[in-house]
Assembly symmetry: C2
Homo-oligomer: 202 residues x 2
Protein backbone atom coordinates (compact mmCIF):
# COMPACT_ATOMS: atom_id res chain seq x y z
CA UNK A 1 0.00 0.00 0.00
CA UNK A 2 2.03 2.92 -1.26
CA UNK A 3 2.03 5.57 -3.93
CA UNK A 4 0.76 9.13 -4.02
CA UNK A 5 -2.91 9.89 -3.46
CA UNK A 6 -5.21 10.15 -6.47
CA UNK A 7 -6.68 13.63 -6.69
CA UNK A 8 -10.39 13.44 -7.43
CA UNK A 9 -11.86 16.80 -8.47
CA UNK A 10 -15.63 16.96 -8.66
CA UNK A 11 -18.67 19.13 -8.39
CA UNK A 12 -21.53 17.58 -6.43
CA UNK A 13 -23.75 18.90 -9.24
CA UNK A 14 -22.26 16.58 -11.86
CA UNK A 15 -24.03 13.24 -12.39
CA UNK A 16 -20.89 11.73 -13.92
CA UNK A 17 -18.93 12.85 -10.88
CA UNK A 18 -21.51 11.02 -8.77
CA UNK A 19 -21.05 7.86 -10.83
CA UNK A 20 -17.28 8.19 -10.41
CA UNK A 21 -17.59 8.87 -6.69
CA UNK A 22 -19.25 5.51 -6.19
CA UNK A 23 -16.29 3.69 -7.78
CA UNK A 24 -13.07 5.61 -7.28
CA UNK A 25 -12.19 4.44 -3.75
CA UNK A 26 -12.41 0.77 -4.70
CA UNK A 27 -10.35 1.37 -7.83
CA UNK A 28 -7.65 3.23 -5.92
CA UNK A 29 -7.65 0.63 -3.18
CA UNK A 30 -6.87 -2.15 -5.63
CA UNK A 31 -3.58 -0.37 -6.35
CA UNK A 32 -2.71 0.68 -2.84
CA UNK A 33 -3.74 4.26 -3.38
CA UNK A 34 -5.92 6.58 -1.38
CA UNK A 35 -8.19 9.21 -2.89
CA UNK A 36 -7.94 12.90 -2.09
CA UNK A 37 -11.51 14.16 -2.55
CA UNK A 38 -11.66 17.73 -3.80
CA UNK A 39 -15.06 19.34 -4.42
CA UNK A 40 -14.88 22.41 -6.64
CA UNK A 41 -17.40 24.76 -8.22
CA UNK A 42 -17.67 24.09 -11.93
CA UNK A 43 -19.49 27.40 -12.31
CA UNK A 44 -16.18 29.16 -11.66
CA UNK A 45 -14.50 26.93 -14.23
CA UNK A 46 -17.22 27.66 -16.78
CA UNK A 47 -16.63 31.41 -16.39
CA UNK A 48 -13.15 30.80 -17.81
CA UNK A 49 -13.87 27.98 -20.22
CA UNK A 50 -17.20 29.22 -21.52
CA UNK A 51 -18.73 25.88 -20.57
CA UNK A 52 -22.14 25.14 -19.13
CA UNK A 53 -23.72 22.07 -17.51
CA UNK A 54 -23.95 19.46 -20.24
CA UNK A 55 -27.42 18.44 -19.05
CA UNK A 56 -28.64 21.91 -20.01
CA UNK A 57 -27.30 21.76 -23.58
CA UNK A 58 -29.66 21.14 -26.50
CA UNK A 59 -29.34 17.62 -28.01
CA UNK A 60 -26.51 16.68 -25.62
CA UNK A 61 -28.78 17.04 -22.60
CA UNK A 62 -31.22 14.48 -23.99
CA UNK A 63 -28.39 12.05 -24.63
CA UNK A 64 -26.99 12.48 -21.12
CA UNK A 65 -30.38 11.76 -19.57
CA UNK A 66 -30.16 8.44 -21.41
CA UNK A 67 -26.44 7.78 -20.96
CA UNK A 68 -26.16 8.48 -17.22
CA UNK A 69 -28.80 5.86 -16.26
CA UNK A 70 -27.28 3.42 -18.75
CA UNK A 71 -23.83 3.84 -17.17
CA UNK A 72 -25.37 3.54 -13.70
CA UNK A 73 -27.01 0.23 -14.61
CA UNK A 74 -23.80 -1.09 -16.14
CA UNK A 75 -21.73 -0.13 -13.11
CA UNK A 76 -24.35 -1.04 -10.49
CA UNK A 77 -24.61 2.48 -9.09
CA UNK A 78 -28.02 3.43 -7.60
CA UNK A 79 -29.64 6.36 -9.40
CA UNK A 80 -32.88 8.24 -8.83
CA UNK A 81 -35.34 8.38 -11.72
CA UNK A 82 -36.17 10.76 -13.22
CA UNK A 83 -32.60 12.01 -13.13
CA UNK A 84 -32.26 14.90 -10.65
CA UNK A 85 -31.13 18.23 -12.06
CA UNK A 86 -27.68 19.73 -11.50
CA UNK A 87 -27.79 22.08 -8.53
CA UNK A 88 -25.83 24.89 -6.85
CA UNK A 89 -23.43 22.87 -4.71
CA UNK A 90 -22.11 25.67 -2.54
CA UNK A 91 -23.49 24.41 0.78
CA UNK A 92 -22.48 20.80 0.13
CA UNK A 93 -18.94 21.79 -0.88
CA UNK A 94 -18.50 24.11 2.08
CA UNK A 95 -19.73 21.41 4.47
CA UNK A 96 -17.05 19.13 3.06
CA UNK A 97 -14.23 21.63 3.58
CA UNK A 98 -15.49 22.65 7.01
CA UNK A 99 -15.25 19.02 8.07
CA UNK A 100 -11.87 18.66 6.38
CA UNK A 101 -10.54 21.64 8.32
CA UNK A 102 -12.22 20.65 11.57
CA UNK A 103 -10.52 17.27 11.62
CA UNK A 104 -11.72 14.73 14.12
CA UNK A 105 -13.25 11.31 13.77
CA UNK A 106 -15.58 12.01 10.85
CA UNK A 107 -14.40 11.40 7.31
CA UNK A 108 -14.95 14.21 4.79
CA UNK A 109 -15.01 11.59 2.02
CA UNK A 110 -17.82 9.75 3.81
CA UNK A 111 -19.77 13.01 3.99
CA UNK A 112 -19.16 13.57 0.28
CA UNK A 113 -20.40 10.09 -0.56
CA UNK A 114 -23.52 10.62 1.55
CA UNK A 115 -24.24 14.01 -0.07
CA UNK A 116 -23.80 12.56 -3.57
CA UNK A 117 -26.07 9.64 -2.68
CA UNK A 118 -28.77 11.83 -1.16
CA UNK A 119 -29.05 13.95 -4.30
CA UNK A 120 -28.46 11.49 -7.12
CA UNK A 121 -29.72 8.20 -5.65
CA UNK A 122 -32.48 9.49 -3.35
CA UNK A 123 -33.52 12.61 -5.26
CA UNK A 124 -33.19 14.93 -2.25
CA UNK A 125 -32.29 18.46 -3.34
CA UNK A 126 -28.82 19.21 -2.02
CA UNK A 127 -29.07 22.80 -3.23
CA UNK A 128 -30.86 23.46 0.06
CA UNK A 129 -28.55 23.98 3.05
CA UNK A 130 -31.10 22.38 5.42
CA UNK A 131 -30.93 19.16 3.39
CA UNK A 132 -27.14 19.22 3.50
CA UNK A 133 -27.35 19.64 7.28
CA UNK A 134 -29.78 16.71 7.49
CA UNK A 135 -27.32 14.47 5.69
CA UNK A 136 -24.45 15.62 7.91
CA UNK A 137 -26.55 15.01 11.02
CA UNK A 138 -27.45 11.53 9.79
CA UNK A 139 -23.73 10.73 9.91
CA UNK A 140 -23.54 11.85 13.52
CA UNK A 141 -22.19 15.34 12.88
CA UNK A 142 -23.40 18.21 15.03
CA UNK A 143 -26.00 19.97 12.90
CA UNK A 144 -25.48 23.37 14.51
CA UNK A 145 -21.72 23.08 14.15
CA UNK A 146 -22.02 22.32 10.45
CA UNK A 147 -24.48 25.17 9.97
CA UNK A 148 -22.05 27.59 11.60
CA UNK A 149 -19.12 26.03 9.77
CA UNK A 150 -20.43 26.54 6.26
CA UNK A 151 -20.81 30.24 7.04
CA UNK A 152 -17.18 30.65 8.10
CA UNK A 153 -15.02 32.90 5.95
CA UNK A 154 -12.11 30.47 6.14
CA UNK A 155 -14.31 27.70 4.73
CA UNK A 156 -15.64 29.88 1.93
CA UNK A 157 -12.05 30.91 1.12
CA UNK A 158 -10.92 27.29 1.15
CA UNK A 159 -13.50 26.33 -1.48
CA UNK A 160 -12.48 29.26 -3.65
CA UNK A 161 -8.78 28.41 -3.34
CA UNK A 162 -9.34 24.73 -4.09
CA UNK A 163 -11.33 25.67 -7.20
CA UNK A 164 -8.62 28.11 -8.33
CA UNK A 165 -5.94 25.48 -7.69
CA UNK A 166 -7.87 22.95 -9.74
CA UNK A 167 -8.18 25.39 -12.65
CA UNK A 168 -4.45 26.11 -12.44
CA UNK A 169 -3.85 22.36 -12.78
CA UNK A 170 -5.96 22.28 -15.95
CA UNK A 171 -9.25 21.05 -14.52
CA UNK A 172 -12.10 22.13 -16.83
CA UNK A 173 -14.82 19.59 -16.05
CA UNK A 174 -15.79 16.87 -13.62
CA UNK A 175 -14.99 14.28 -12.62
CA UNK A 176 -11.32 15.03 -13.16
CA UNK A 177 -8.50 12.92 -11.76
CA UNK A 178 -4.78 13.54 -11.38
CA UNK A 179 -2.77 10.33 -10.96
CA UNK A 180 0.96 10.82 -10.42
CA UNK A 181 0.71 14.11 -12.31
CA UNK A 182 -1.28 12.55 -15.16
CA UNK A 183 -4.69 14.16 -15.88
CA UNK A 184 -7.77 12.10 -16.66
CA UNK A 185 -11.15 13.68 -17.40
CA UNK A 186 -14.42 11.84 -17.14
CA UNK A 187 -16.00 8.85 -15.47
CA UNK A 188 -15.26 7.03 -18.71
CA UNK A 189 -11.51 7.41 -18.18
CA UNK A 190 -11.55 5.26 -15.04
CA UNK A 191 -10.66 2.12 -16.98
CA UNK A 192 -7.63 3.98 -18.33
CA UNK A 193 -6.73 5.12 -14.81
CA UNK A 194 -6.74 1.50 -13.70
CA UNK A 195 -4.59 0.54 -16.68
CA UNK A 196 -2.25 3.46 -15.91
CA UNK A 197 -1.84 2.22 -12.35
CA UNK A 198 -1.34 -1.36 -13.54
CA UNK A 199 1.36 -0.49 -16.07
CA UNK A 200 2.79 2.59 -14.44
CA UNK A 201 1.87 4.56 -17.53
CA UNK A 202 2.32 3.93 -21.25
Amino acid sequence: MSGAPIDFYFDFASPYAYLASARIDALAGRWGRVVRWRPILLGAVFKISGGMPNLNKPLQGDYLRHDVPRCARLWGVPLHQPLPAPFPSLAASRAFYWLDQAGGEHSPAALARALFHAHWAEGRDMALPENVLDVAASLGLDRDAVEAGIAETAVKDRLRVETETAISRGVFGAPFFVVDGEPFWGADRMDQIEEWLRRGGW
Copy 2:
Protein backbone atom coordinates in the same frame (compact mmCIF):
# COMPACT_ATOMS: atom_id res chain seq x y z
CA MET B 1 -23.11 -13.14 -38.98
CA SER B 2 -26.33 -11.16 -38.76
CA GLY B 3 -27.81 -8.10 -37.16
CA ALA B 4 -28.42 -4.54 -38.31
CA PRO B 5 -25.52 -2.33 -39.39
CA ILE B 6 -23.90 -0.07 -36.82
CA ASP B 7 -24.31 3.57 -37.85
CA PHE B 8 -21.04 5.43 -37.38
CA TYR B 9 -21.46 9.21 -37.59
CA PHE B 10 -18.27 11.21 -37.77
CA ASP B 11 -16.63 14.37 -38.97
CA PHE B 12 -13.23 13.87 -40.57
CA ALA B 13 -12.15 16.89 -38.52
CA SER B 14 -12.57 15.10 -35.18
CA PRO B 15 -9.46 13.38 -33.77
CA TYR B 16 -11.60 11.12 -31.59
CA ALA B 17 -13.61 10.13 -34.66
CA TYR B 18 -10.29 9.22 -36.28
CA LEU B 19 -9.35 7.06 -33.30
CA ALA B 20 -12.75 5.38 -33.48
CA SER B 21 -12.50 4.91 -37.25
CA ALA B 22 -9.40 2.80 -36.79
CA ARG B 23 -11.23 0.39 -34.47
CA ILE B 24 -14.93 0.25 -35.29
CA ASP B 25 -14.84 -2.24 -38.16
CA ALA B 26 -12.96 -4.84 -36.12
CA LEU B 27 -15.31 -4.36 -33.17
CA ALA B 28 -18.41 -4.73 -35.34
CA GLY B 29 -16.93 -7.73 -37.12
CA ARG B 30 -16.47 -9.59 -33.85
CA TRP B 31 -20.26 -9.48 -33.45
CA GLY B 32 -21.24 -10.17 -37.02
CA ARG B 33 -22.10 -6.57 -37.74
CA VAL B 34 -21.14 -4.26 -40.54
CA VAL B 35 -20.56 -0.54 -40.13
CA ARG B 36 -22.49 2.11 -42.04
CA TRP B 37 -20.01 5.00 -42.31
CA ARG B 38 -21.70 8.38 -42.29
CA PRO B 39 -19.56 11.53 -42.49
CA ILE B 40 -21.38 14.66 -41.36
CA LEU B 41 -20.43 18.30 -40.82
CA LEU B 42 -20.19 19.05 -37.12
CA GLY B 43 -20.23 22.76 -37.97
CA ALA B 44 -23.91 22.40 -38.86
CA VAL B 45 -24.51 20.58 -35.59
CA PHE B 46 -22.72 23.30 -33.64
CA LYS B 47 -25.00 25.95 -35.14
CA ILE B 48 -27.87 24.22 -33.32
CA SER B 49 -26.10 23.02 -30.22
CA GLY B 50 -23.88 26.06 -29.66
CA GLY B 51 -20.87 23.76 -29.60
CA MET B 52 -17.41 24.33 -31.01
CA PRO B 53 -14.42 22.06 -31.70
CA ASN B 54 -13.18 20.90 -28.32
CA LEU B 55 -9.56 21.35 -29.39
CA ASN B 56 -10.26 25.09 -29.69
CA LYS B 57 -11.64 25.44 -26.16
CA PRO B 58 -9.54 27.00 -23.40
CA LEU B 59 -8.25 24.45 -20.84
CA GLN B 60 -10.07 21.56 -22.55
CA GLY B 61 -8.01 22.00 -25.72
CA ASP B 62 -4.76 21.51 -23.80
CA TYR B 63 -6.12 18.37 -22.19
CA LEU B 64 -7.24 16.94 -25.52
CA ARG B 65 -3.80 17.51 -27.04
CA HIS B 66 -2.57 15.25 -24.24
CA ASP B 67 -5.45 12.77 -24.16
CA VAL B 68 -5.71 12.04 -27.88
CA PRO B 69 -2.07 10.86 -28.18
CA ARG B 70 -2.42 8.91 -24.93
CA CYS B 71 -5.51 7.10 -26.28
CA ALA B 72 -3.74 6.50 -29.59
CA ARG B 73 -0.79 4.87 -27.81
CA LEU B 74 -3.09 2.72 -25.68
CA TRP B 75 -5.10 1.58 -28.68
CA GLY B 76 -2.17 1.27 -31.08
CA VAL B 77 -3.51 3.83 -33.54
CA PRO B 78 -0.87 5.77 -35.53
CA LEU B 79 -1.01 9.51 -34.87
CA HIS B 80 0.96 12.43 -36.28
CA GLN B 81 2.80 14.64 -33.80
CA PRO B 82 2.24 17.46 -33.20
CA LEU B 83 -1.46 16.74 -33.39
CA PRO B 84 -2.92 18.16 -36.61
CA ALA B 85 -5.64 20.78 -36.25
CA PRO B 86 -9.33 20.17 -36.96
CA PHE B 87 -10.11 21.20 -40.53
CA PRO B 88 -13.03 22.02 -42.83
CA SER B 89 -13.97 18.56 -44.03
CA LEU B 90 -16.29 19.52 -46.86
CA ALA B 91 -14.18 18.09 -49.69
CA ALA B 92 -13.40 14.86 -47.87
CA SER B 93 -17.05 14.28 -46.92
CA ARG B 94 -18.28 15.04 -50.43
CA ALA B 95 -15.73 12.67 -51.93
CA PHE B 96 -17.09 9.95 -49.66
CA TYR B 97 -20.70 10.48 -50.71
CA TRP B 98 -19.80 10.85 -54.36
CA LEU B 99 -18.18 7.41 -54.20
CA ASP B 100 -21.10 6.04 -52.20
CA GLN B 101 -23.54 7.23 -54.89
CA ALA B 102 -21.31 6.19 -57.78
CA GLY B 103 -21.20 2.58 -56.62
CA GLY B 104 -18.69 0.28 -58.28
CA GLU B 105 -15.74 -1.66 -56.99
CA HIS B 106 -14.30 0.97 -54.64
CA SER B 107 -15.33 1.02 -51.00
CA PRO B 108 -16.42 4.38 -49.56
CA ALA B 109 -15.33 3.15 -46.12
CA ALA B 110 -11.84 2.42 -47.46
CA LEU B 111 -11.68 5.97 -48.83
CA ALA B 112 -12.80 7.32 -45.45
CA ARG B 113 -10.11 5.33 -43.65
CA ALA B 114 -7.48 6.60 -46.09
CA LEU B 115 -8.60 10.22 -45.68
CA PHE B 116 -8.59 9.93 -41.89
CA HIS B 117 -5.14 8.36 -41.98
CA ALA B 118 -3.70 10.97 -44.33
CA HIS B 119 -4.74 13.83 -42.06
CA TRP B 120 -4.32 12.42 -38.57
CA ALA B 121 -1.52 9.87 -39.02
CA GLU B 122 0.47 11.53 -41.82
CA GLY B 123 -0.28 15.18 -41.09
CA ARG B 124 -1.41 15.97 -44.64
CA ASP B 125 -4.01 18.76 -44.65
CA MET B 126 -7.29 17.30 -45.85
CA ALA B 127 -8.90 20.73 -45.85
CA LEU B 128 -7.37 21.10 -49.32
CA PRO B 129 -9.38 19.46 -52.11
CA GLU B 130 -6.20 18.62 -54.07
CA ASN B 131 -4.96 16.56 -51.13
CA VAL B 132 -8.28 14.75 -50.94
CA LEU B 133 -7.99 14.00 -54.66
CA ASP B 134 -4.44 12.69 -54.14
CA VAL B 135 -5.67 10.25 -51.52
CA ALA B 136 -8.54 9.12 -53.74
CA ALA B 137 -6.14 8.64 -56.67
CA SER B 138 -3.80 6.60 -54.47
CA LEU B 139 -6.66 4.12 -54.01
CA GLY B 140 -7.05 3.80 -57.78
CA LEU B 141 -9.95 6.21 -58.16
CA ASP B 142 -10.08 8.48 -61.20
CA ARG B 143 -8.85 11.83 -59.97
CA ASP B 144 -10.83 13.85 -62.51
CA ALA B 145 -13.99 11.92 -61.79
CA VAL B 146 -13.66 12.61 -58.06
CA GLU B 147 -12.93 16.28 -58.72
CA ALA B 148 -16.07 16.58 -60.82
CA GLY B 149 -18.03 14.47 -58.35
CA ILE B 150 -17.43 16.63 -55.31
CA ALA B 151 -18.81 19.60 -57.25
CA GLU B 152 -22.10 17.85 -58.07
CA THR B 153 -25.24 19.34 -56.58
CA ALA B 154 -26.58 15.88 -55.75
CA VAL B 155 -23.46 15.12 -53.73
CA LYS B 156 -23.59 18.43 -51.87
CA ASP B 157 -27.26 17.81 -51.14
CA ARG B 158 -26.53 14.30 -49.92
CA LEU B 159 -24.03 15.57 -47.35
CA ARG B 160 -26.50 18.18 -46.14
CA VAL B 161 -29.30 15.60 -45.86
CA GLU B 162 -27.10 13.09 -44.03
CA THR B 163 -26.09 15.80 -41.55
CA GLU B 164 -29.71 16.84 -41.03
CA THR B 165 -30.73 13.21 -40.58
CA ALA B 166 -28.01 12.72 -38.01
CA ILE B 167 -29.16 15.77 -36.06
CA SER B 168 -32.75 14.51 -36.17
CA ARG B 169 -31.49 11.26 -34.61
CA GLY B 170 -29.89 13.22 -31.78
CA VAL B 171 -26.29 13.34 -33.00
CA PHE B 172 -24.51 16.32 -31.39
CA GLY B 173 -20.85 15.29 -31.56
CA ALA B 174 -18.49 12.77 -33.08
CA PRO B 175 -17.87 9.94 -33.12
CA PHE B 176 -21.49 8.98 -32.55
CA PHE B 177 -22.81 5.45 -32.97
CA VAL B 178 -26.33 4.04 -33.22
CA VAL B 179 -26.51 0.34 -32.43
CA ASP B 180 -29.94 -1.23 -32.79
CA GLY B 181 -31.47 2.17 -32.06
CA GLU B 182 -29.23 2.75 -29.04
CA PRO B 183 -27.09 5.94 -29.17
CA PHE B 184 -23.47 5.99 -28.01
CA TRP B 185 -21.34 9.14 -28.11
CA GLY B 186 -17.57 9.12 -28.05
CA ALA B 187 -14.61 6.90 -28.81
CA ASP B 188 -14.66 6.09 -25.10
CA ARG B 189 -18.07 4.43 -25.42
CA MET B 190 -16.74 1.69 -27.70
CA ASP B 191 -16.17 -0.69 -24.80
CA GLN B 192 -19.82 -0.20 -23.86
CA ILE B 193 -20.86 -0.81 -27.46
CA GLU B 194 -19.02 -4.13 -27.37
CA GLU B 195 -20.69 -5.00 -24.07
CA TRP B 196 -24.07 -3.99 -25.53
CA LEU B 197 -23.54 -6.33 -28.47
CA ARG B 198 -22.34 -9.11 -26.17
CA ARG B 199 -25.32 -8.91 -23.82
CA GLY B 200 -27.94 -7.59 -26.24
CA GLY B 201 -28.33 -4.55 -24.02
CA TRP B 202 -28.73 -4.11 -20.27
